[in-house]
Symmetry: C2
Subunit: 496 residues, 2 copies
């Protein structure tokens, strides 16, 4: 049947035909450790292919055709600690974006609420296509088709989700019990079910009445806000206040940290979706089938599943040699040679400072592993050896008792803060590009194969005035070499 808004529906059918992609990029998951870390999570990494998952998500809506106008400029909601990298990656995609920076982590419902409020503030009531930033979708056309169908229902005031017909009794997903059949293969949502135990999951798959929840939602901004106001007025109010008292320059929206601190943390599923099946629900829910090679890449096993394999089921990335290995996945990220001999169903992820070897069937236990590493205060739980900064990055390539060696890469136009250190002196050798160096009251240029020395206590700044990357080798020398021995006197990225 064609679903018609019933007389009980408080929300009128909108005439708005505008779609705004909303990319939820606040995750900091570590299930893909050691590539994904708290400070550089999964969505910022090229898990499959060269582009990061975030970049692939940004690109995913381009080429969308249909009865709706799609906004070329997505809204991206991300955490403060990932803001610079998120901006950089989106810039490299060649598209503009509105970036909402969450001052704290509050899960997906507040993130979507901030996006909806920003849309409504523009006197608009567009259809939001809310997408996690860290999934993989093989068939973009099939995704577009599903979204076009979903947008039709969303326009009529439904909350629509995309569901995936299950191929195995996976316990890592939420399930949706499908109800009354609608046009275009859509169904009313009977209810949302949280991640089930193995036995229940098997029953769900056998029953053929349950789909996986893909985490992609299509809903009008006003519909979401109305539903939320009824179901969690506190979240609605706190998000509204945080945005009202926050800052915005049109492209970068910064909710007020104090107000946002009051926002309760919760997911879209818990806050709204689990309540829309009931008789007194604030709105109706529809699920549209997504058959597009979707994966949430929620574990290294899922990544292996999503990738192209050789005849023995192996997947190699980087400098990898397999000898008698089967159904294994090896990835060399740091340039080292990774050799797998006689392994079966094994994942090997080699990074600069940590290597993971896991049985694929235990890939879900990595969360527990990372928790243990964090308890032991090992830095590998949270940071990479290579640390991104607004101006570029540095890589700590060697350290000894009283020295440390860093490779520092500064992007064209990049400018480190004017700073000084109380406990260390620094030797800089330029190995690529040109550096503009401030040292005390002097300023001078250094080009390839030139060096300088920054004594302890002397204020200094490193800049790249050129058009190509600047790369220097820095040898630090001193009794204490922590990142916190830095006095920032001036910083163009607002960090001083």
């Amino acid at each position: 049947m064609e679903y018609a808004a019933s007389s009980e529906d408080a929300i009128a059918i909108s005439s708005c035909r505008r779609i705004v992609p909303v990319i939820l990029a606040g995750g900091s998951g570590t299930r893909l450790w050691p590539m994904s870390r708290e400070q550089f999570p999964k969505q910022l990494i090229g898990v499959i292919g060269h582009d990061s998952l975030l970049q692939a998500t940004v690109a995913r809506m381009s080429g969308f055709k249909g009865d709706f106008d799609i906004d070329a400029q997505p809204i991206i909601v991300c955490g403060e600690e990932h803001r610079f990298t998120t901006e950089q990656q989106v810039r490299l995609c060649g598209v503009g974006a509105t970036i909402i920076v969450e001052p704290a982590r509050r899960d997906t419902a507040p993130a979507l609420t901030l996006a909806a409020l920003a849309i409504i503030a523009d006197d608009d009531d567009a259809i939001m296509v809310a997408m996690p930033s860290d999934h993989s979708i093989a068939d973009v056309h099939a995704l577009h088709d599903a979204i076009a169908i979903a947008a039709g229902y969303a326009q009529r005031g439904m909350i629509v989700t995309l569901g995936v017909a299950p191929t195995r009794p996976d316990t890592g997903f939420g399930y949706i019990r499908i109800g009354e059949a609608l046009d275009h293969g859509a169904h009313m949502i009977e209810r949302f079910v949280e991640k089930p135990a193995a036995e229940l999951a098997a029953q769900y798959v056998a029953a053929q009445r349950y789909w996986w929840n893909s985490g992609i939602f299509i809903v009008r901004a006003s519909v979401w806000l109305d539903a939320l106001r009824q179901l969690n007025g506190e979240m609605h109010a706190a998000c509204t206040a945080a945005l009202k008292e926050g800052k915005s320059d049109g492209h970068l929206i910064r909710p007020c940290p104090n107000q946002f601190a009051r926002v309760p943390s919760d997911s879209i599923d818990y806050t709204v979706m689990e309540h829309i099946g009931g008789a007194d629900a604030p709105c109706k829910g529809v699920v549209v089938q997504l058959a597009a090679g979707w994966s949430d890449l929620g574990s290294w096993d899922a990544v292996w599943e999503a990738m192209e394999k050789d005849t023995l089921g192996n997947v190699a990335s980087g400098r990898v040699v397999f000898e008698g290995a089967t159904s294994s996945y090896a990835r060399s990220e740091g340039g080292r040679l990774v050799a797998c001999v006689g392994t079966a169903n094994i994942v090997v992820i080699d990074t600069d400072d940590a290597v993971l070897v896991a049985d694929r069937s235990h890939a879900q236990d990595i969360k527990r592993l990372v928790a243990r590493i964090r308890e032991e205060h090992a830095p590998e739980a949270e940071t990479h050896r290579k640390v991104r900064r607004p101006w570029g990055y540095f890589d700590s390539i060697e350290h000894g008792a009283r020295y440390q060696v860093k490779r520092i890469v500064v992007e064209p136009g990049g400018r480190l803060s004017l700073q000084l250190h109380h406990h260390r002196a620094e030797h800089w050798v330029v190995v690529r590009g040109t550096a503009l160096v401030t040292r005390g009251d002097d300023q001078f240029l250094l080009s390839e194969n030139e060096s300088t020395f920054i004594p302890l206590g002397v204020r200094h700044r490193l800049e790249n005035p050129g058009k190509v990357q600047l790369e220097i080798i820095e040898v630090q020398s001193g009794a204490y070499l922590g990142e916190d021995d830095i006095v920032r006197l001036d910083d163009c990225y607002g960090r001083s």
Copy 2:
């Protein structure tokens, strides 16, 4: 029965009661790749514990008590490419040694022959205890007891080998069929059998008449030489000529390379041991049982077997985390964090430039793996990232398109060659100790946190005049950075 030399024995019972340990350290095996590499093989590595296997072998005979006098100064036979490290390691043991440097690889029979000839040249006919340098023995007292028994038979003109009662049908060992029982649990050797197929190995173990060949031989120098002359006169003659025309300063013996090139390559087993069971054999063979926790550490599986395990059968070395792993062995050599999740029977060996992940049951396939890596000309087959030199070592910690960063450690008194480079300039930053730098016609000292620049084409030398290690960070810059861009003008280690 007490074995009495029969009237047929051409060799008289010697009155010599002197034992000389002969350590065969010419191996370059790669079965323990990536820790063991052609240029830095297994015996030079601390596979079990801190000391290298060579050092453990040198220390093994100390404390020997009995009717025989043991020579505190062993004879070590090693290859030219491992000479400096062998010398350094032996020096650290605090014992003197006679080192015979083989100009080329010729397997174990020529190595033992060189040692025997050197002993005879001293107008002596000592009992040699020939030991591979890369085995592990848990119970040194049991070894001493076995050697004391063996020396008694050796004194009477027998070639004695130590045999190990097999605990599994291993196909990686040679087997000895034991004959007539002698005193002290010894047996006449009926015959030597090469590494058998699995089925045959199982029969051997079931028959209880076969022991593993440990590779430890006890034989008088004159007995060995007489047997060899009869069985392989060519080897005997060529070794004799190589030693005669070689150089010696008493502690370092260098056979003549041209003569040694003529020596046929063969093992002790093939050349002599497989011929001593017969009626017309040049001498008799005896096997003495060794029950001392012996292992040839011939594979990572064997290493795991030889090491102490936790309750789940895991062995960790360095920064390792196990989560749900069983019967696994993980080793972090480069300081990286190695995490094993849900692995069973897996070996992980992480080094600076290569990581091996192997199923323990496929540990023997590593030989094939290394052969493949070598075919692909990957340097990881032969060299480590850290390269040993007579003066210390260097570690290539980073490289880019036109630069390379090395950490250079110079031992006290160490002196690099006076050299120049045609294609690269070098920046040196001292991070520990004091350097004496020669640059062009100048000579000056640099201490911690000081630096200098060596322009392209300028002759230079780095020395450590101090009492502690000197450590510098070298940044090389230039279009070509190969190790072969070096003109050595003077070298105190004879390399110019």
